[in-house]
Amino acid sequence: MLRVSNLRSGYGKMVVLQDVNINVREGEIVAVLGPNGAGKTTLLNSIFGLATIHSGEIIFEGKPIHKMSPHDIVRAGISYAPQLDNVFPNLTVVENLQMGSFIRGNDPTIKNDIEEIFGLFPEIERRRNQKARTLSGGERQMLAVARALMSKPKMLLLDEPTAGLSPKAGASLMKKIKEIRDRGVTILLVEQNVRRALEIADKGYVLVSGRIIKEAIAEDLRKIEIEKLFFMGAQ
């Protein structure tokens, strides 16, 4: 469904990612694991047209998307929940969700979808008419994921959705991500929290210092000590 091949990208002249190859099949949860600063966010930004792509290509459903604007990429069916600055702080929770469905125009089913999403995230339903800036970190993460779902994407990019959450909240969010996949949305998940990610992922990539150093199905990854890879890198 999504294929990233030989990607070399970064910001301006700064090259962050080198030779990155990633494959995501429909219906999968693919986790990209790696320590802080490894380039995980840059990978998602590259897919979403927010980073500078020096070479390589990104194909989504057979169409190259690495030259498209973020706006067109949303229309193509990908949605993105960034880790930071992921809500509109001065808009209410409901308004945030409505913004997520902007490309759907005046679709009458949006109202239903909002309620449905609140069904998935009852924690934020209680705060539906509050400004997003009053939300806690965990609630913001949920709102960000919820907002991204509102465009009815075929594929969802998630950047460390559980960062800064308590273990309990993190685990429950992961469960919800799995639920979202079961509703038919393919998920590319970037995570630092290896164990939590591998609980739900089908496949994983380990990204260290801008390079993929390991690719395996989740079961195999669970067996090795990924921490070592994190701290010591490939060398």
Binding site: G10, K13, G37, R196, G233
Partner: protein, 256 residues
């Protein structure tokens, strides 16, 4: 070893966000000290407090001046620099329209030609200027960057930009260097080279380094001691090996 920098119970709040919530730590002279922690743990805020960008809401920052530790919190950034603290930024802040040489030459304090009256009389400052230029050239030679001497910053690679930002402090008698993610965006080999230089500088010039770095695999190889910040508090500290195996650190980084 005597302490060069001491942070005492520093807190900094932004609205309800506790960016720093009572952090105390010390940096010894000639140390190569790491500061790590997940995103948003308050590392850069701590640097900002030390260098005078922010006034801490509580606590104090002390810096060694001859034999005493004096308070430097609340000073303006330019005054902090004069005490002997140089910092670099996560996103390097060089002067983009100046050449590499000019970026180095702009750094030294007390240049005669910076006085507007003296600037009019070239003779009064040209000798000093030549000396500084020789010093800059020596520095560039040491770091294998002499061929870039007349290049604009935009012609440099990311690694060289990071390097230049670090070495421009050497144009002045600075004692403590605060480096904010020197290896970010630099490839592995260059990052190691950069850290090797840092170690060499420490050894040869008796400098002290306090380094924020996410790329632990590189950092851990070079530093003597590591502090770990998490949610504005000191989570752990110790020798690199101890910190890596500290369950609290693993939990903060990797999760349970």
């Amino acid at each position: 070893m005597s302490v060069i920098l001491e942070v005492r119970d520093v807190a900094k709040y932004f609205g309800g966000v506790k960016a720093l919530d009572g952090v105390s730590l010390t940096v010894p002279e000639r140390g190569l000290i790491g500061l790590i922690g997940p995103n948003g743990s308050g590392k850069t805020t701590l640097f900002n407090v030390i260098t005078g960008f922010y006034v801490p809401d509580r606590g104090s920052v002390l810096f060694r001046e001859s034999n005493d530790l004096v308070r430097i919190d609340g000073l303006n950034p330019n005054e902090v620099f004069k005490k002997g603290i140089v910092r670099t930024f996560q996103i390097p802040r060089l002067f983009n329209s100046l050449t590499v040489l000019e970026n180095l030459l702009v750094t030294p304090l007390g240049q005669k030609g910076e006085n507007p009256v003296r600037a009019l009389f070239r003779n009064s400052w040209s000798k000093q200027e030549r000396e500084l230029a020789s010093k800059a050239i020596e520095l560039l030679k040491t770091f294998n960057m002499l061929h870039y001497v007349n290049s604009k910053i935009s012609e440099l690679s990311a690694a060289h930009i990071k390097m230049l930002e670090t070495i421009r402090g050497l144009m002045t008698p600075a004692k403590l260097y605060l480096l904010d993610e020197p290896a970010a965006g630099v490839d592995y080999a260059m990052a190691r080279e950069l850290f090797t230089y840092v170690r060499k500088l420490r050894d040869e010039h008796n400098l002290t380094f306090f380094i924020i770095e996410h790329r632990l695999e590189i950092l851990m190889e070079y530093v003597d001691y590591v502090y770990v910040l998490h949610n504005g508090k000191l989570l752990s500290e110790g020798k690199p090996q101890e910190v890596i195996s500290d369950p609290k650190v693993i939990e903060a980084y990797i999760g349970v």
